[in-house]
């Protein structure tokens, strides 16, 4: 908990939720609203691998499939839910097959270390949602390079350093660099320039956070409720 509640309404970024699995039905609700209005938007919902074992996930998938809601459910399978390996938590090896339980829910797994493959599969799922109003469960297989949180050592008690090092070699950024250079469209200098630019963006964000003032104490009581302005009260009492 703590820093996870990021939202940006201007980008239709709906958060930032701290209860595992709780946001999956919320995303289905966004899909429901799209269908209700007859829009052609798509809601994309990201979750960790441990979400596939909680009830909210299944309730949401069932209704999304039943009602044909335009949602792409993306499992970012990084092999660990906190310190518990996937195979110690899920009674299924191929997490994407959880989607097979629901007629009308497409399901697929993709190599999350391969940026172009992820892009391709995501596009298929988004198109299916947009054109057919049909949901997809997309498992993206990747790996967690860092500890679970600030209080978790990089490899911890639950995985070996050797395992971590093996996956670090498959870093999707390095993989993409290699692919692009093989295709002859991307030089070392291009990479260095891009790398420097990204570092600058991250540093700017870091500096912005560091230099931002603490909220004023009055902010404590703000945003608990909104003032209802949509309609006046028409008459009062008996």
């Amino acid at each position: 908990g703590g820093s996870m509640h990021m939202f940006d309404r201007s980008l239709n970024f709906l958060g930032g939720h701290g209860i595992v699995g709780s946001h999956v039905p919320v995303a289905a609700g966004v899909g429901f609203a799209i269908k209700y209005r007859g829009g052609d938007q798509v809601c994309v919902c990201f979750m960790g691998d441990s979400v596939v074992n909680i009830g909210a996930f299944h309730e949401a998938l069932n209704m999304a499939a039943l009602w044909k809601l335009p949602v792409v459910f993306v499992i970012e399978n990084n092999r660990y839910g906190m310190g518990t390996a996937v195979e110690r938590a899920a009674a299924i090896k191929d997490l994407s097959r959880r989607g097979a339980a629901y007629d009308g829910l497409a399901h697929a797994a993709v190599d999350g270390m391969n940026v172009l493959e992820v892009r391709e599969q995501a596009a298929v799922a988004i198109e299916r949602a947009r054109k057919e109003g049909a949901p997809t469960l997309l498992e993206v297989r990747t790996y967690r390079f860092m500890g679970h949180s600030m209080s978790d050592a990089v490899s911890g008690t639950y995985r070996t350093k050797a395992e971590l090092e093996e996956y670090v070699k498959q870093d999707p950024i390095l993989h993409l660099r290699h692919t692009m250079q093989e295709a002859g469209e991307f030089t070392d200098a291009d990479f260095e320039a891009l790398d420097a630019e990204v570092k600058r963006i991250v540093q700017d964000a870091w500096d912005f956070a560091d230099n931002s003032p603490e909220p004023p104490l009055e902010a404590l009581f703000e945003d608990v409720l909104v003032e209802t302005t949509s309609e006046p009260v028409i008459s009062v009492g008996a």
Binding site: F7, V26, G31, A56, A238
Partner: protein, 326 residues
């Protein structure tokens, strides 16, 4: 003025608000084809169609969350729980999603949703189907909690709840659906957060809400025969709580009994007694007393159930005690 049932008053509110605003839809178990487990949504499917009257699987957590998501992007869902007992399965969405979304998002996403359904004990439905949840829900910042006790209040408060831009928990008395009362034909809305004095007297205040209003009024009738005149303060909305209505009454009568349907520990009455001792200390002629359910899961046996519930006799006894008559 027409006299209609509490059920029909709620049905009118739903129908009128759905006619008025096409962002409003109702979703829940058996709300459509079955016409509602308690027939509150009767006829709505026929009038509004299946996109706006949505039958769900039995999956409270899932469909409550779907309501939250739809509300975040501008729809105005009414989520019916067949009873509030089943809302416990969805409490994560009510508390962690609906109530906190505005705060967590720094004011970017409000959640204009109504969670509604029958609340409290009926007759011999036993432990898992006989619970009054308002003291749980009123604990949570970010929610409004409404407990109408009459058909008139049920209609006016439900319309206000649907129009409110915040999450509202709307707790209907399961035993009230067939109760009857005057409901005007012309449109009216009752603001949330305002109590109403349902009976006026100067000897003692009975502060209560929801179904217990009927118990309080019956107690008031019987007490009147002995010349005891009580104020009956109907809180109507327990969050926000109308503190002024409570203190105004108690400062007039100098004595208070708090009557609630739920359990004693951490109940509504504990908070109201605290308000009274802080705000009315110099006005009190006796300690405030509480009437509530016995501190047990609701028993099935008829005689034990009756003994567990707060009732007219217990309320009268409490009033007589704060008046030092017994």
């Amino acid at each position: 003025m027409p006299i209609i049932t509490y059920r029909d008053a709620l049905n009118q509110a739903l129908r009128e608000e759905m006619q008025r605003d096409d962002r409003v839809f109702i979703m829940g178990e058996e709300v459509g084809v079955y016409n509602g487990a308690y027939k509150v949504s009767k006829g709505l499917l026929e009038e509004f169609g299946e996109m706006r009257v949505v039958d769900t699987p039995i999956a409270e957590l899932g469909f409550a969350g779907i309501g939250v998501g739809a509300a975040m992007v501008g729809l105005r869902p009414i989520i019916e729980f067949m009873t509030w007992n089943f809302a416990l399965l969805a409490i994560d969405q009510v508390v962690n999603s609906a109530a906190k979304m505005l705060y967590m998002s720094g004011g970017q996403y409000n959640v204009p949703i109504v969670f509604r359904g029958p609340n409290g004990a009926a007759l011999q439905l036993s432990a898992q189907h006989s619970q009054a949840w308002e003291s749980w829900l009123m604990h949570i910042p970010g929610l409004k909690v409404v407990t109408p006790g009459t058909p008139y209040d049920a209609k006016g408060l439900l319309k206000a709840a649907i129009r409110d831009d915040n999450p509202v928990c709307f707790l209907e008395g399961e035993m009230l659906y067939n109760s009857r009362g005057e409901v005007p034909e012309e449109e009216y809305v009752i603001p949330l957060g305002k109590a109403e004095l349902k009976r006026e007297g100067d000897h003692c205040s009975i502060i209560t809400n929801g179904k217990m209003i009927l118990v309080a009024l019956q107690a008031a009738d019987q007490l009147a025969k002995d010349g005891i005149r009580v104020d009956v303060v109907d809180l109507r909305t327990v969050r926000p709580l109308d503190v002024e209505a409570i203190t105004t009454s108690v400062k007039k009568t100098n004595r208070a009994v708090v009557l609630e349907e739920g359990w004693e520990l951490a109940g509504i009455g504990g908070h109201i007694a605290d308000v009274i001792q802080r705000e009315c200390f110099d006005h009190l002629d006796a300690p405030a007393l509480r009437v509530h359910q016995a501190d047990v899961p609701m028993p099935y046996a008829k005689n034990l159930e009756r003994a567990a519930k707060p009732d007219v006799a217990k309320t009268i006894a409490a009033v007589r005690k704060v008046m030092y008559l017994d």
